[in-house]
Amino acid sequence: MPFSELQAQDRAVGALQAALRRGRLHHAYLLGGPEGVGKGTAARLLAQAANCEGPGARVDGLPEDACGECAPCRKIARGTHPDVFLLQEERVMAKAGRWEPKGGRTPSREIVVDQVRDLVDHRLSMRRFEGRRRVVVIDPADAMNVQAQNALLKTLEEPPEGTTLVLVSSSPDALLPTIKSRCLRVAFAPLPEPIILAHLVAAGQPPEAARLAAALSGGSLSRALGLDAEALSERRAALEGAASLTAADAGRWVAFAREHGDDREAAAGLGELLLIWWRDVLVAQAGGAGLALAELAPLTRRTAAAITPAEALRRRGLTERLLGALRQNAAAPLAIERMLIGWFHGR
């Protein structure tokens, strides 16, 4: 399965393939961009291409593309290659039986320092097993807590010979500056709506629902696929509700927070949509076209005209904090309320 399975990421893919062609992979990549646009796939393809033994093999440099047929390619795709590691949230890895938390602790939803130490002290302390290049994929990299990130710094700066670390993150700016500065950043763009629409229709969704999902997906295929029609219209309504709240009516904020704080998942979904919407607001302020949420264009433009770009950025930051709080078990109604107070009463 070659790089062509990634759609509309020509720039990112081009950068990776150019490095492969020269046979000079950087030692640390940070693949950043919205959720569900192919960052994880790109990381896997990079590992495959660097270890591919298919017909694309070259004498000078690495194959530009993975064949997907040879033994290393298939092993990497199945996750059984001994030189390709995938580091995920502790809970995910524990569930898959690839990790056991120390001392019988309940697995965390973060990537914890023990996992990073195990990687650095055990897995990377030995030479490669069979591959040409060892690849460590950390996905999502922003799940690493601060201690874990600090434990990774030394390795990230100077990994053992023949090793590439690939950090995958949908919020790369949440990483420590020391991590970011040690990585070569490769930006992934949101997918254009028509591509998502085509995927959804191909996956058998009715065209009308597919169109709405594509519009609300904010350029993320995985989010578009995860949205069912009913949840979709509910979330859209919630977003519209949040976007039309005003500073004047504090009673409505509280009601809004209570109404949408019932369900954590839905609250997080709303937060993610809000992030996309704030992006749209900023796009509108900068005079750009191509809003991700075209349906809300009038509301977006009205907000864009009412506040300064700095203010929009600030409110977007508060929305990010909401998502962070929800990930860390905050009470959803309170977290939403706090965000709204920040929006309208913050400085």
């Binding site: 033994a71 030479r127 490669r128 097993f129 053992p160």
Partner: protein, 375 residues
């Protein structure tokens, strides 16, 4: 794959792999053994935890060649409990393994052989014949000084440095260092030294001990190095261990030039004295103090909670007096590893490292350096 083999032979072969397969594995395939039925009526059984791989070859009747990976533990338990002398192993559809012996039949879920990590290819490696006893001796005399601190992984093993016709083994944990040199009958073709992990060396020691006990011909045990691993071969067994990444420190700087104060004393007596006196040294530091004067070495230990101990040992020494502290463990490890009747201890002053050597032929080429303690 289809083959017939003696139940006991198979059980013994699988028993060897039990220690290698990972129990809590990060990759399910690592809890499996790879069975390969090959031409020439051979069954090859391989197990790996990625750091260490062992393959053994066994004679059997191969009806059909092929390969399959199955759970090491379950196959072993089944084969141990089989009722008949012979057993048939057959690969069925969907990677099942059929085990038949007399009236009993088992079907075990397996994994495709392609999933099993590929062991390094070593057809082209340069192998050097080694004397199992000599290498075993070298490993045992250096091994104990290797570090257990996981964060300093480049010290978690023994450094193999072949230089011309000499094989040099070095281990250190930052507080002590052991070096052993022996002649070597060949060239590994290594450009620089490599670090062999402790875990792999423990397994290698087992194989070397077996080889030494059997008293095999010298040429049957061979060692070679691939890009990333060390390969040890004996008839029927191949051990592959992954090398440790990283650079070994420049140990030559640590070994002092000939010390000014050279003390010679009886090895056995010194060892016993150290063991006795250290009974009262602190549990943490195991410190003992050596007070050297002409003709006598006084060994002291002191522990405010317990009391103190001292013992005088006669030595061959006529120089200036000196007081120096050491971790008694570090001294006893080395003195116990020596073989000659007398130990030679070289000191400079109370803060410079001590050098221990055996004074005699059996310890030729062996040097240990121990850092002193302030007490």
């Amino acid at each position: 794959m289809e083959l017939k083999i003696g139940s006991q032979d198979l059980a013994r072969a699988l028993g060897r792999s039990q220690g290698i397969v990972e129990r809590k594995s990060t990759m399910p395939i690592l809890s499996h053994v790879l069975l390969e039925a090959k031409k020439g009526n051979e069954l090859q059984i391989s197990a790996t935890d990625l750091d260490l791989s062992v393959s053994s070859t066994h004679t059997c009747e191969v009806a059909k060649e092929g390969a399959l990976a199955v759970s090491a533990k379950h196959l072993y338990e089944i084969v141990k409990a089989l009722p008949e002398q012979t057993v048939t192993l057959k690969r069925a559809g969907n990677n099942y393994l059929e085990v038949k012996s007399g009236p009993s039949e088992f079907r075990i879920v397996g994994l495709p052989a392609e999933d099993f990590p590929a062991l390094p290819r070593f057809e082209k490696l340069t192998f050097v014949d080694i004397d199992p006893k000599s290498l075993l001796d070298q490993i045992e005399r250096t091994f104990f000084a290797a570090s257990n601190d996981e964060t300093r992984y480049n010290l978690n093993g023994v450094f193999f440095e072949p230089q011309g016709a000499v094989l040099r083994l070095v281990a250190t944990d930052g507080h002590r260092l052991t070096v052993s040199e022996r002649p070597l009958a060949g060239d590994f073709g290594l450009k620089k030294g490599v670090i062999l992990p402790k875990k792999g060396l423990s397994e290698l020691r087992k194989l070397l001990t077996e080889a030494a006990e059997v008293g095999e011909e010298k040429s049957t045990s061979q060692l070679g190095f691939a890009e990333n691993s060390a390969v040890f071969k004996r008839p029927g067994v191949i051990l592959v261990m992954r090398l440790i990444e990283g650079l070994f420190p420049d140990y030559k700087q640590v070994i002092p030039k000939q010390g000014e104060k050279i003390i010679k004393l009886g090895r056995q007596r010194f060892l016993e004295t150290l063991r006795r006196v250290s009974l009262l040294s602190s549990d943490k530091s195991h410190a003992v103090k050596l007070e050297l004067s002409a003709g006598t070495l006084r060994v002291l230990s002191q522990n405010p909670d317990l009391g103190d101990a001292r013992e005088d040992v006669p030595v061959e020494y006529a120089g200036e007096p000196l007081k120096i502290g050491f971790n008694s463990r570090y001294l006893t490890d080395v003195v116990a590893a020596l073989k000659a009747d007398d130990v030679q201890l070289e000191l400079a002053d109370d803060l410079s490292p001590g050098v221990l050597k055996g004074a005699g032929e059996p310890d030729a080429g062996y040097t240990a350096v121990v850092m002193p303690m302030r007490i």
